[in-house]
């Protein structure tokens, strides 16, 4: 396969995305196994889940005293929150890729794509920040 027409920034993006997604999946599987096999305590006991997962998210959070936003990070010693680390990793691995291609576009004086990458980064960071609030139902 001749990949001479694949740009350097695209190759760099692919390499970082590959590392990010593989490590994220490994983390996800490992933490989930620790959770379901009982190696880590659970915030919500596993036996209670069938009575709770049919509730709207607002009621579920209320009944289980589960925090929103990034507060779960302080509770990663519990299996159900430890599993969220892998999920957050997978959701966030594009950030590194976007950040890594900006210098390549900047060296080439491709201002439009520097701006597009920075805007894409800003959108991802805004979504991840937890600052956007929604009304519950």
């Amino acid at each position: 396969m001749n990949d001479s027409h694949i740009s350097i920034e695209q190759q760099r993006y692919a390499t970082l995305l590959s590392w990010g997604s593989r490590s994220g999946l490994a983390l996800l599987i490992a933490s989930f196994l620790a959770y379901v096999l009982g190696w880590m305590p659970a915030h919500v006991p596993l036996e209670q889940l069938p009575n709770l997962w049919n509730l709207p998210v607002g009621e579920y959070l209320e009944q289980t005293n589960t925090p929103t936003g990034w507060a779960w990070l302080t509770m990663t010693d519990r299996g159900d929150f430890a599993s969220l680390v892998g999920i957050a990793w997978l959701s966030g691995c594009s950030l590194v890729c976007l950040l890594a291609v900006i210098p390549i576009y900047a060296r080439r004086k491709d201002r439009i794509f520097v701006m597009l990458c920075m805007l894409a980064l800003a959108v991802q960071l805004l979504a991840a920040s937890g600052m956007l609030r929604t009304g519950g139902h």
């Binding site: 396969m1 001749n2 990949d3 027409h5 694949i6 740009s7 920034e9 695209q10 190759q11 993006y13 692919a14 390499t15 995305l17 590959s18 990010g20 997604s21 994220g24 999946l25 996800l28 599987i29 989930f32 959770y35 379901v36 596993l46 036996e47 889940l49 069938p50 009575n51 997962w53 049919n54 509730l55 709207p56 998210v57 579920y60 589960t66 925090p67 929103t68 299996g79 969220l84 892998g86 999920i87 997978l90 959701s91 966030g92 691995c93 594009s94 291609v101 439009i112 794509f113 597009l116 990458c117 894409a120 959108v123 991802q124 979504a127 991840a128 956007l132 929604t134 519950g136 139902h137």
Partner: protein, 326 residues
């Protein structure tokens, strides 16, 4: 001659086995979902691990059919799991986004490396779709579940019509790129292995494409589905990108769109590991098998099976949302 006859018999045998597998798969999903509906009120009778295990098995089979049918797992996941499992739609949508995200992340790097996904084509579209997916996710989490179910049912039935009727163009003719795509250098070359040659491509109607991606991102966030079913027709039929580049770039775009919507669900507490993780692993294992069965499964048979499944799931979502079939 004798050898040819034997290989023909072997090939027929493989086809029969593969298509029997499909029929068995369809029966399993229908029987499983029917059982799920009947069993739903008696959730306490089943051990806690029963539903996650059923979810894993269902997602494994959905993953097998998702690859040959050319649809993302997310679009199958949300209506089927939302309609027939006891989980609330909020958690199903959160898991659906992660299923679509994980599948896109698994495919993205290799698609970028071989030029079937293009960064310059994807970034402007993904930027707008990511922003609108955040709005979709926020509105979806604020609306009553029954309203989202009805909208989901209508959307899924629309997707069925789109899948059954939409045409595809392997290499659309783009006489002249528009000013915006020229300014953004949205063009490229990819190696088409089936023809053994390099094919250069460019796009047109970029402003309309960008506008449609705003709507696509919104729907992805609202329903927690991947949006390949909409990305590919817009990239291929409207903007004129070759079919393979459209499919590859669509998958890559989902890595950005679904991740921004997933953050909203995660921050709002609508991601339950017990639902999301078995779904992601089941779907990825199924897709792995599906990719290897690609050469023996009849794509047309799989596509009809998937359209039937979506029709059933879309009707179920609509009737459940309207309170007719609870």
């Amino acid at each position: 001659m004798f050898g040819g006859a034997i290989s023909a018999i072997r090939e027929t045998g493989s086809l029969v086995r593969a298509n029997s597998l499909l029929v068995l798969l369809a029966m399993t999903i229908f029987a499983g979902t029917a059982y799920a509906v009947e069993a739903a009120p008696a959730t306490s009778a089943m051990p806690w691990w029963g539903w996650p295990l059923a979810l894993f098995i269902t997602c494994f089979f959905l993953g097998i059919v998702a690859v040959p049918s050319g649809v993302g797992g997310g679009v199958l996941f949300v209506p089927i799991v939302g309609g027939f499992f006891p989980f609330h739609l909020d958690f199903v949508r959160g898991a659906g986004l992660l299923v679509a995200l994980a599948s896109a992340l698994a495919a993205g790097p290799s698609l970028l490396r071989v030029g079937l996904a293009d960064l310059r084509l994807a970034l402007p579209l993904a930027l707008l779709a990511s922003a609108s997916s955040i709005a979709g996710a926020m509105i979806g989490l604020a609306l009553p579940a029954s309203l989202v179910q009805v909208a989901l049912g209508i959307t899924i039935l629309g997707i069925v019509v789109l899948m059954a009727t939409a045409k595809k163009s392997e290499f659309p003719d783009v006489a002249k790129p528009d000013k915006l795509s020229a300014a953004l250098s949205m063009h490229g070359i990819f190696h088409d292995a089936s023809q053994g040659k390099e094919i250069s491509w460019r796009v047109h109607r970029t402003p309309l494409g960008l506008l449609l991606f705003v709507g696509i991102g919104f729907l992805a966030g609202l329903f927690g589905m991947g949006a390949g079913w909409a990305n590919v027709p817009v990239l291929n039929l409207l903007m004129g990108a070759p079919l393979k580049v459209s499919a590859g770039t669509s998958s890559f775009i989902l890595t950005l769109v679904d991740s921004s919507a997933a953050w909203i669900y995660l921050n709002k507490g609508a991601v339950l590991a017990m639902i999301a993780v078995p779904s992601v692993i089941g779907m990825m294992l199924g897709a792995f098998i599906g990719a290897r069965l690609l050469h023996i499964l009849r794509a047309s048979v799989v596509r009809k099976l998937v359209i039937s499944l979506l029709l059933f799931a879309g009707l179920r979502a609509l009737l459940k949302g309207l309170g007719i079939w609870m």
